[in-house]
């Protein structure tokens, strides 16, 4: 077997190569392009393939950088004044944090051709909503009956040991727990009622995963049959050939819009507006509406597919529940710590 030798010159070249690769995003921007953060996986693939040519046609190069919401914020916070991304793709839970930390700026809607195609609920002052996810219960109809709502998951023995929960790291989980607090407690902030449910039932504690990503993997393995998720989770599972259905709980489905935001200090504002406009483009959104992404199109010119309209119609948009994330974030630290300690006890 050949010996592996690394001399000083090779080591120097490797270090220089690694350093150069870290400069790629900056180089992309220096050449008139922008770096847009996008969720990894199907989002990333769809945005790269559909939006890159549209942004190019507007005269800019687009670099799609995959990163989860928390990672996007962490990276931008780590380099104030020289953000790692020109635009962020996040939900209101993270948007509240971004505004509080002065990471994003208000946009000028007159610079977006497709702005008028958006319903008022999707015209945010900090950026447009490109899709809206509906959160609820994802279940496997081959294994469990269709749940009526969250109460069913706690009280019907058919779900015992088959439901997966997760902590307050997840926006989806936070929204579900506020609903569960309404059912079993005095209101959406009465999280003690939720903690009591978990404290009194060891089976529930055993079904808690560290992150929502792990729930998808466990669902694939048949390890769990129910979890708190979104319409996009169902679309993704179906695209993998798995049987999955979505249920809107009887308490209603909170909306989780996904917005594009302009980061403070972006050196490519013109390109960022071109990118936002491309993401709102009717043709692009019609493509995103098809499997495997199945995103609800916020551009009103796009006709809803039967799959999408079975979950949400345009008339229902105005009536969706939008949680108060500023209020939630005030308690989130305390809720997170209490829940972790409770589950590990």
């Amino acid at each position: 077997m050949n010996e592996f030798r690394l001399n000083r010159r090779m080591f120097g070249m490797l270090v220089a190569g690694a350093a150069a690769s870290s400069l790629l995003p900056s180089m992309a921007r220096a050449s008139g392009g922008l770096v847009a953060a996008t969720f990894p996986g199907s989002w990333e693939d769809a945005y790269r393939s559909v939006l890159t040519p549209l942004v190019k046609a507007a005269g800019y190069d687009l670099t799609v950088a995959p990163a989860l919401s928390q990672d996007q914020l962490t990276k931008v916070m780590a380099s104030p004044g020289a953000p790692a991304f020109d635009t962020l793709l996040i939900s209101p839970g993270q948007m509240a944090i971004a505004i509080e930390n002065d990471l994003i700026v208000k946009i000028d809607p007159t610079r977006l051709k497709n702005w008028s195609k958006l319903a008022p609920a999707f015209q945010g002052e900090y950026g447009p909503t490109v899709t809206v996810q509906i959160d609820g219960i994802v279940y496997n109809p081959d294994v469990v009956p269709k749940p009526k709502g969250y109460r069913d998951l706690f009280e019907n023995p058919a779900y015992a040991g088959k439901v997966s929960w997760t902590g307050f790291d997840s926006n989806t989980a936070v929204m579900a727990y506020t609903q569960i607090a309404q059912i079993f407690g005095t209101g959406p902030d009465d999280m003690d009622a939720v903690f009591k449910l978990f404290k009194d039932n060891a089976d529930l504690r055993a079904g808690v995963t560290d992150t929502t990503n792990h729930q998808m993997a466990l669902y694939q393995q048949g390890e769990i049959a129910v979890f708190m998720g979104s319409t996009n989770n169902v679309a993704h599972l179906k695209s993998l050939g798995l049987n999955a259905e979505f249920v809107q709980p009887e308490t209603g489905s909170p909306a989780s819009p996904v917005n594009i935001h302009l980061t403070k200090g972006s050196a490519n504002v013109d390109a960022a507006y071109a990118y936002m406009d491309a993401a709102l483009d009717a043709g692009a959104q019609a493509t995103f509406e098809a499997p495997p992404t199945e995103m609800f199109p916020t551009n009103s010119d796009v006709e809803l597919t039967p799959n999408i309209s079975s979950v949400l119609t345009r008339d229902q948009v105005a009536g969706l529940a939008y949680p108060d994330w500023v209020s939630i974030n005030k308690y989130r630290d305390e809720w997170t710590s209490t829940f972790i300690a409770l589950i590990a006890s």
């Binding site: 914020l73 055993a206 466990l218 390890e223």
Partner: protein, 264 residues
């Protein structure tokens, strides 16, 4: 080399240290007080250390027989042992972790084997259990102990064990008094690598251990990426660094002890 150490190690470490003492009004010990003020955090720290020790024991119990097999083998088989040890390292830790999710799940081979042998009455999942996590960590970190071990054994003379055999020593006596002392420098190096890797292995701990088994890297990740409390995250990271650092330092000192490592 000094410049690289300063840029890539000392500077980030200095920043981490500075952050850990940062508070709204300036320098403070509040972040450390907050961490140690909660008994749960102390339990998480001891769990992390325990997982490191258990993984070291598990990898050692598997690594020594593999090392001995390597030592007794011919040139070609030795190449096979090194190759098979390296293969897992060529795949991402994330991939290996998700492979373990399949192995440890209710539908996985362990559960099915137990069921088939009649040892369990129903499919059993080892996910979200400390034992399942330990199995995964031992397999994932095994190359870290095998490689230093075979590096030592590759240049170890066969004359000493043969002399012991001629002098009438049995197989077990040769193992304990001759072979293990010869292996000790490699084992010590492996223990350092395995312990450091295990105690910082966020992906495997989170995916296999679930939310019921909490370790320090999960606390740090949560403070950095969910709660955005970087000073507290830095303080927790410093505590982990000092705890594991003290243990690794002790191992490093042992590895330099002339009598213990067979250089007397």
């Amino acid at each position: 080399m000094l410049l690289l150490s300063v840029v890539f190690f000392a500077t980030p470490l200095g920043l981490l240290l500075a952050f850990s003492f940062a508070g709204p009004t300036g320098v403070t010990l509040d972040n450390f007080a907050e961490f140690f003020g909660d008994p749960f955090n102390f339990k998480v720290l001891t769990n992390t250390m325990r997982l490191g020790f258990e993984t070291v024991i598990g990898t050692t119990l598997l690594g020594i027989p593999i090392g001995l097999f390597y030592w007794h083998s011919g040139r070609r088989m030795r190449q096979v042992v090194v190759f098979l040890s390296l293969i897992p390292m060529l795949t991402s830790n994330v991939v290996r972790t998700f492979a373990w999710i399949v192995i440890l799940s209710r539908q996985g081979p362990i559960s099915q084997a137990l069921l088939g042998l009649g040892l369990t009455g129903a499919p059993t999942s080892l996910l979200s259990t400390e034992f399942g996590l330990l199995l995964a960590m031992v397999q994932i970190d095994l190359p870290l102990i095998i490689l230093p071990l075979v590096a030592i054994l590759a240049r170890t003379s066969r004359q000493l064990p043969e002399a012991a055999e001629v002098a009438g020593a049995g197989h077990w006596r040769i193992l304990v008094t001759v072979l293990l002392p010869m292996m000790l420098p490699g084992l010590l190096a492996g223990w350092i690598l395995v312990f450091a890797s295990t105690s910082a292995s966020y992906v495997t701990q989170a995916a296999i251990g679930g939310a019921r088994n909490v370790y320090v890297p999960q606390l740090i990740t949560r403070q950095v990426g969910v709660l955005f409390n970087w000073p507290l995250a830095s303080a927790i990271a410093m505590v982990l660094l000092l705890s594991t650092g003290a243990l690794l330092m002790a191992l490093a000192l042992i590895s330099r002890h002339r009598r213990l490592v067979g250089h007397a």
